[in-house]
């Protein structure tokens, strides 16, 4: 199971500080130094905070309304999430990081693992950090160590201790003092449950976990935790992965801006979500063999939840939106009940197969229109990419779309829409 990383190479974890908030600040400098929170779609939960907002005690994931008075009293600035912007800025950060090493694994929207040479690694990390900051305006923290798990620890220290200037090399000599002072729950892969269990066994620091007995871990926890323990010891068990595998199913679902009971409005929302999921699916060149539609009610205090779902097997794998929408609507008809207020609907496209790689049913007529359909979907995808999502929609998705989620304070899409680029007054 183990393999030690090549002697002259280190794993480094680079991640962006307060990524969403930092993206907003690049284009709106008035946000610098202020407490700032970013809200999820529908302006529901707080999904990002600037350091100043963190200092006020606003927790991650909290429903926005719970902190409404604190937000008002402390003049906390609120922004709706601007995923078009964050996605583009993420690409820029990753592209910049990729200049420094060909061995990079993009782990999430704001984190990447890199393989770096040991020699002068601290100076190199400083160069990487200052380049990303100059090129994109996004501040990052970078930690390096002999394994990925230790690199995460190093990154944590780089962030926590300002005097580290945002970078930290966790050398083998420093492992003991650092792991001794690191609580076990801060380790990558160790969650609440495992922390509680370990605590009952008297294992509270990362150092104590590292020294635990292999067989005991294997017996009482799992091989995954054992791998983590080996990584803490400096034995690399996790390799730098390459491009992520294509998704096996694609789901799109969202809560409505306010509860709905009209079938027609819900069907419109569902058609829109289906179109979106289908677009994502075409992006990875798959077709769906079945889809699932689900509905969730918004009950009043005394009522029970109504939650239902239905699976629709498609006659042949397809990526053609009108066809998917048709079956999604049929599914909705099957599970829809009158006189219920609904909170949410969604669709999942499943049984994804590579587009041109499915077996034709003996009795299935060859689809002469396939080329036309492909051409149509290609045109729609291209247009939506160019002019913004939703430019071309199917009539089934509705025109007014009153069910759409709220987005009261969204910043502009400075990097993806010509009409929304930064505008400066020359004076």
């Amino acid at each position: 199971m183990s393999s030690t990383a090549p002697n002259n190479l280190l794993f480094a974890l680079a991640d962006c500080n307060n990524f969403f908030a930092s993206c907003e600040r690049v284009f709106d400098p008035s946000l610098h130094g202020s407490p700032l929170v970013i809200l999820s779609s529908n302006d529901g939960c707080i999904i990002a905070r600037s350091n100043e907002a963190k200092a006020l005690g606003i927790p991650m994931g909290a429903p926005a309304f719970q902190y409404a008075s604190l937000i008002q009293q402390q003049n906390v600035i609120v922004r709706s999430s601007n995923f078009a912007l964050y996605g583009d800025m993420s690409k820029r950060v990753m592209r910049t990081l990729a200049q420094f090493t060909p061995d990079i694994q993009v782990y999430s929207v704001d984190e990447a693992f890199l393989l770096l040479e040991k020699e002068n690694v601290k100076e190199y990390m400083q160069k990487i950090r200052s380049t990303v900051l100059q090129w994109t305006g996004i501040p990052t923290s970078i930690g390096a160590a002999t394994t990925k798990t230790l690199a995460k620890v190093a990154n944590y220290y780089a962030k926590k201790y300002v005097q580290k200037e945002g970078v930290f090399f966790l050398t083998p000599a420093l492992e003991q003092p650092i792991l001794k002072s690191l609580p076990v729950e801060e380790i990558w892969g160790i969650g609440r449950r495992i922390t509680d269990f370990l605590s009952r066994q008297g294992i509270r620091s990362a150092w104590e976990l590292r020294n635990a007995d292999d067989l005991w871990i294997r017996k009482h926890l799992s091989v995954t935790v054992l791998r983590t323990v080996w990584e803490l010891r400096g034995i690399s068990c996790l390799e730098l992965e390459e491009a992520p595998a294509a998704k096996k199913s694609i789901m799109t679902s969202k809560s409505f801006g306010y509860p709905l009971f009209d079938f027609k409005e819900i069907a419109e929302a569902l058609a829109s979500y289906t179109a979106r999921a289908a677009e994502k699916m075409r992006g990875q060149e798959s077709s769906a063999s079945y889809l699932e539609v689900f509905l969730l009610s918004s009950p009043s205090r005394d009522e029970e939840y109504y939650h239902n779902a239905v699976q629709m097997i498609l006659p042949q794998p397809t990526d053609y939106t009108p066809e998917l929408t048709h079956y999604a609507k049929e599914g909705l008809q099957a599970i829809f009940r009158e006189k219920i207020l609904y909170k949410k609907t969604g669709v999942m496209l499943g049984g994804l197969v590579p587009k041109n790689n499915y077996q034709l049913d003996l009795f299935m007529a060859k689809n002469e229109n396939q080329e036309k359909r492909d051409g149509l979907m290609q045109l729609i995808d291209q247009t939506n990419r160019q002019f913004g999502r939703g430019t071309l929609k199917f009539a089934a998705e509705g025109v007014k779309q009153t069910w759409k989620a709220k987005k009261a304070n969204c910043s502009k899409r400075y990097t993806t829409q010509w009409k929304e680029i930064l505008s400066i007054k020359l004076k």
Binding site: V121, K425, L426, K427
Partner: protein
Amino acid sequence: MSQKNLSSFEIRAASIWSAKADYPMRFPSFLTRISAGFPSSADDFIENQLDLNELIIKHPAATFFVHVEGDSMLQAGIQSGDILVVDRAVEPCPGKIIVALLNGEFTVKRMIRETSGKVFLKAENNRYSSIEITPETDFQVWGVVTYVIHRAQ
């Protein structure tokens, strides 16, 4: 990858996403059919179609577009309504037109250093005065203007 000499580290163009081009890719169209035997002598002269992105965007990750209004940079050829190509990867140095943050507000000026060593932000229009930049000034470079896109009619 050379970490030994940091002032000139090797930049490798690494492709980390699957082949979905961010920018339109042009493919040369073949002038003649490829058949066994006789290639056309014109084939040696097939070149790529010109791509505007190649010309004006040297650092895609660091390039942003900014729309401007106003006449304070007329003499630099920047007119109201133009779009500026701003490259954050270019080192800002005296003589360059920069997008900057001055007292927290965006501005576009030419950066000047006088023989005395003093640094100024200069408009390109006599009606506007220069602003001196000292260590106390609330000033930060945002990017360097590399191209100005102006609509002819």
